[in-house]
């Protein structure tokens, strides 16, 4: 059935076959190499994050403190050191790993289901919508459960409005989706400004600002725990179903003829990525750029197949988040907010990615 058969091809078929086999195992090996290299990097960054900070704790003590929870170790450190590691640095590092991974996975999911590599939780308005929801709840002095639910509702409403605009004007192009994302984003910013204006300057305003810029500084395990299922379960679902993202990214018609129940599958993906993004916002405020830049980076390195790309993107997201968090607390004596650095690093980095991929971006 070769429609472009020629003798040269037939002659070299054997050598080509062996080459292809090599090519396949190469791509499988490439995934393993990248996966394990980045996993080791993540561990190094994890350790680095525990060691780095204004208050000096020697590395061997850091290791001992961490493991003293599991196995009995003779105490060679003081209680301040212990508290710095266990109550300050460990929770924020764990939070950075979870949030970085979750935002990267959500971003990659949105990009696949909207068949558009330019979308992200920030661009679709999910983050800012969640922020408005949470800020409104804070304004009403609600408890943390209500804040979380308000954040989720805000995120979902924002993504619904953003994706409704292109359908409403019957132009479902990338440009219109990006534009409506910008519109909803600035609308949400305006609402945030109103909320800030009416917020109590002594108590609520600080909390709302904290949310808008994103920070791991105040995170504790007690606060983190109730949010964890709302991040981990949807991300686990996305990871399990990730092959379907490939098929959905081909477009509705093709996905349907390949046997996928579009409405149900897409609904589950949107629900999962919105829930996890909104919960991340609950945990540490809005953090831009991660959901856009990290999947692009992963795709550049391992290719577009979500089967491989998604796990790599999650590890990259965690590493990036730890890196940003470490910078935030070491650059200046006062803590910087995450949003400042993700923007400062993410924006130029995205230009670099666009430059590298200029042929593929339509």
């Amino acid at each position: 059935m070769k429609y472009n058969s020629n003798d040269k091809q037939a002659l070299s078929a054997d050598s080509e076959k062996s080459l292809q086999k090599k090519g396949q195992s190469d791509s499988a090996n490439k995934f393993k190499v990248i996966f394990f290299t980045s996993a080791i990097m993540l561990m190094i960054f994890f350790a680095m994050s525990l060691v780095t900070g204004q208050y000096v704790v020697p590395i061997e003590d850091v290791i001992k403190i961490v493991f003293s929870n599991i196995i009995p170790i003779e105490k060679t450190w003081n209680s301040i050191q212990q508290s710095v590691i266990l109550d300050l640095r460990l929770p924020r590092t764990v939070a950075a790993i979870i949030v970085g991974g979750a935002l990267a996975a959500s971003g990659a999911t949105y990009q696949s289901i909207f068949k558009n590599p330019m979308v992200s939780p920030d661009l679709l308005g999910v983050s800012s919508g969640a922020c408005v929801g949470a800020a409104t709840a804070i304004l009403l002095n609600a408890n943390s459960t209500v804040i979380q639910m308000a954040a989720f509702a805000g995120g979902l409403i924002a993504v619904m409005i953003t994706t409704m605009i292109p359908r409403l004007i019957r132009n479902e192009s990338t440009t219109i989706l990006v534009l409506s994302g910008i519109i909803i984003g600035s609308l949400m910013t305006s609402i945030m400004n109103i909320i800030k204006f009416v917020a109590d300057t002594d108590t609520q305003l600080a909390e709302i600002t904290y949310w808008m810029m994103g920070s791991f500084a105040m995170i504790t395990f007690e606060e983190m725990l109730p949010l964890l299922p709302a991040i981990i379960i949807p991300i686990a679902a996305i990871m399990l179903m990730r092959y379907r993202l490939n098929v959905l990214s081909l477009g509705d018609y093709e996905a349907k003829t390949l046997g996928i129940n579009i409405r149900k599958t897409r609904g589950i993906f949107i629900l999962c990525s919105t829930l996890s993004t909104a919960s991340c916002v609950c945990m540490c405020g809005t953090i831009g750029w991660v959901g856009l830049v990290i999947p692009h980076t992963a795709r550049m390195i391992i290719g577009s197949d979500n089967k491989k790309m998604l796990p790599i993107a999650m590890i990259f997201g965690s590493i990036f988040m730890i890196f940003i968090d470490v910078l935030c607390r070491t650059i200046t004596t006062a803590e910087l907010k995450l949003g400042i650095l993700t923007g400062l690093i993410g924006a130029p980095f995205f230009i670099f990615i666009l430059f590298k991929q200029r042929r593929q971006v339509q």
Partner: protein
């Protein structure tokens, strides 16, 4: 009978009827070529058969079962669909793209198995495009994309293959090769339905032909009987004659 279409009609919301009371059937080894002018609704008819649009009346039976009562996944194990050549948003490799044809057999929570890759690699081999395997789908030519898409549909292992203008956007040589390939697929036992703008392709395939006119009536019959100068002249609004060509040993269309 793999596919039976019984008196289906279709109109878009608040719009004129695209076709009405369309009936035909197709079985193993048969080819149906659908002819019609631009905008006559050939693709719409094909989409109805592919379960992408629901006819407003009538019913479609797949191996005797009403398609409207079947699950999307069940249908995809019987019908494979080859859309017109297009690009993708992401640079999947040809191998990654082809293995997506296995989706109807892959559970929601799993990824393609070794066996799935084996089947899709065999499909690439069959199409003679194994050398493209690791190339990004976005960076190959239109003709190659067409071959990859057909490899994907082979990997899907359907009984019926639908092709939406498979010869569009292809050069003269590749058009001919696609037609030959469709003929060969029919000999292998697939049922095939394709839409085309070239009546000669339908003549070459020498299977069933359906002409969809602008009044929404579908005229179905054997190619030799249905395609004649009068029918084509009426359809395309041009003086068309069928002339027997001794070299090709078949009728060719000429405008005169």
């Amino acid at each position: 009978m793999i596919l039976e279409v019984n008196k289906i009609s279709f109109h878009y919301h608040n719009s004129r009827e695209i076709f009405r009371d369309v009936s035909f059937s197709i079985d193993r080894g048969e080819i149906l070529s659908i002819l019609g002018t631009n905008g006559a609704g050939k693709s719409t008819l094909l989409n109805c058969i592919a379960n992408l649009r629901q006819p407003n009346s009538g019913e479609i039976l797949l191996n005797g079962k009403p398609m409207s009562k079947m699950k999307v996944r069940e249908i995809s194990q019987v019908i494979g669909y080859v859309p017109q050549v297009h690009s993708t948003a992401y640079a999947y490799t040809v191998r990654e793209f082809t293995v997506m044809g296995r989706t109807p057999y892959i559970g929601a929570f799993s990824t393609p198995s070794k066996n799935d890759y084996k089947i899709s690699d065999a499909a690439l081999e069959k199409m003679g495009i194994s050398h493209l395997k690791n190339k990004p789908y976005t960076e190959i030519s239109g003709g190659e994309r067409q071959q990859v898409m057909i490899a994907r549909v082979i990997a899907q292992q359907p009984q019926l293959i639908l092709l939406d203008e498979p010869t569009a956007h292809l050069d003269y040589g590749n058009q001919y090769r696609v037609v030959q390939m469709i003929r060969q697929f029919a000999d292998e036992g697939y049922a095939l339905i394709m839409t085309t703008h070239n009546p000669e392709h339908a003549i070459m395939l020498n299977g069933k032909v359906a002409i969809l006119n602008n009044e929404g009536i579908l005229d179905v019959g054997r190619a030799a009987e249905t395609i004649n100068g009068e029918a084509l002249s009426k359809l395309y609004g041009l003086p068309i004659k069928l002339v027997y060509n001794n070299e090709a040993k078949r009728n060719v269309c000429v405008v005169c």
